[in-house]
Subunit: 324 residues, 2 copies
């Protein structure tokens, strides 16, 4: 009897009891064989509740991402309700972009256990080793004009920050525009790719990388001072499924709020979580470096920088660093 | 002797004389055969200048688009300096997007004699019959953030309007955001597709369709009241090459001005050419219909609409029509 067939019976009806009789009939094996198989699954990290009357109920699966299981746990209406899980892909962004071009609905989520060519901002690479983090891309189809696309980047950072803080209790701050840091070290990366026709956004692919269970040894020397993981920071491993489920819920709520009430509430939340405000910073732009104090976001999503002469200017695009 | 080989000799050195001796040597035929071939080409619409001493010089080619010839006529530094001409493609937008993804430099121009699936705004079709118009897409790599992408749409409309007015002397107006009209009928379509990573524009594909030499019979009944061509409006055919060369020059100049001085000068030019200002209009947006009087552009490229109560609001995305 295949281990897989038994598991599929539980995954087909998540949270439901499956009777020993049903299993034995459907799989054409004895109830003793079923019991042995259950024990084998438990050894692999699955856990079950047994009831003499009702049979077995799947309580938990090992920290292996399983689409149907994840979908069944989502308390959302669209985000993460359609999940495609891949073992290895070049980059989930590319897979999600193809899905979007082929009409995938909003909330379609592409997850990979591993990326062979994970991408960060500005064409930089992104460390995404097998099974140790959440490497995913989601299709968004926001009904806002292209002018507002950068607001979605900030919104995504707020949703991720809130969900990870809630799950771990760690103190996590947002560095403008969308890096999440714990004690100055990066734990996640967000990259939104927009495709627009004139002023209409056709779709946005929100790529999110979360370093959940990476260990010190997963980072090369140069990166260890700049990057960390939730596991390193908290001292204990975290369920990737929990991270995804919590994030999707927080993200959809904020996204709906944004589409109803506009960017105002997001500004307030972002500013409260930001660690970039009030401290002198260098902003490297294509037109040159601007030095000043970030004081908040403006209504478009640009960051307001107070210059030495007291004037405040919006900066739309830059790399932010500390003054040298 | 192939007609093509002789022609290639002229196209290889645009504007230069090619001696009868050189032609006869390279093509291994008599000078009488060369002379006959030249006559044949003249019958096809090519014209030459003959000099007893220097040989022949190609003066003009029939209204068939020829890449090397067009490139040689461009008085630009980047726009239209790399031209790919296709006989039939689905849509030049798709070809140009692939080129951009593969690193094509700014100004790379894709032209098709014919599109089997030309696209307009909002997924609408676009009539693009063989050889009768300019159907093209150009790669732009502007160093402005995504917020400003809609400004490029307005800039492109201004450049096209100025170049066509200069060439034809016709009175051409811009309907917001980027339709060009002659006596209320559309003569061109502009569609800008943007690809961005966060707030950085990776590239913009500017698709432009210009109805140059279409005749009444090229339009179906329903379209004849809404669309016209430069030929119909002016009563005479126009060289498509001239249209492209003039437009590229105007476009590059405005684009450079914009990158140096910002959107201010473009607002002034757009408003001067617009036929949408000062008259009541209905703006159909995803959130509902707004009725008011367009009074100008704001600094982001949104159109400012004066409502009945005197207040002025910016509208970022809408279809504009007359009040019913």
């Amino acid at each position: 009897m295949s281990n897989d067939k038994l598991l599929q019976m539980f995954l087909r009806e998540p949270g439901q009891y499956v009777s020993g009789e049903k299993m034995s009939q459907e799989l054409q094996v004895s109830r003793t064989a079923i019991w042995k198989q259950i024990q084998k699954l438990e050894a692999e990290g699955y856990s079950f509740e047994a009831s003499r009357r009702l049979g077995y109920r799947l309580l938990n699966i090992p920290d292996k991402l399983e689409g149907a299981w994840l979908e069944s746990r989502m308390e959302t209406s669209r985000f993460g309700k359609l999940i495609h899980i891949h073992d290895t892909v070049q980059s989930t962004q590319i897979v999600a972009r193809d899905a979007a071009e082929n009409g995938a609905p909003e909330g379609t989520l592409i997850i990979a256990e591993q990326q062979s060519n994970g991408r960060g901002r500005m064409g930089r690479g992104w460390v995404s080793p097998k099974g140790k983090g959440v490497w995913m891309s989601m299709v968004l189809r926001p009904s806002v004009p292209i002018h507002f696309a950068p607001q979605l980047t900030l919104l995504t950072a707020v949703a991720l920050c809130r969900s990870l803080t809630r799950l771990t209790g760690l103190s996590i701050g947002i560095k403008w525009p969308n890096d999440l840091l714990i004690e100055g070290k990066k734990i996640s990366g967000i990259l939104l790719e927009s495709a627009a026709e004139d002023e209409r956004l056709r779709y946005v692919i929100a790529g999110v990388g979360i370093s959940v269970n990476l260990e010190q040894s997963d980072y090369e020397d140069g990166l260890r001072e700049k990057a960390t993981s939730l596991r390193i920071a908290s001292g204990k491993p975290l369920s990737r499924s929990d991270v995804i489920v919590q994030f999707m819920q927080e993200w959809e709520q904020l996204y709906d709020l944004y589409q109803e009430q506009g960017f105002g509430p997001i500004i307030t939340l972002w500013e409260a979580l930001s660690i970039s405000l009030g401290k002198p910073a260098n902003l490297v732009t294509p037109q040159g470096t601007i030095t000043g104090i970030p004081v908040g976001l403006d209504s478009t999503g640009a960051i307001k920088i107070q210059l030495d002469d007291g004037s405040v200017i919006p900066v739309f695009s830059a790399e932010m660093g500390e003054p040298t």
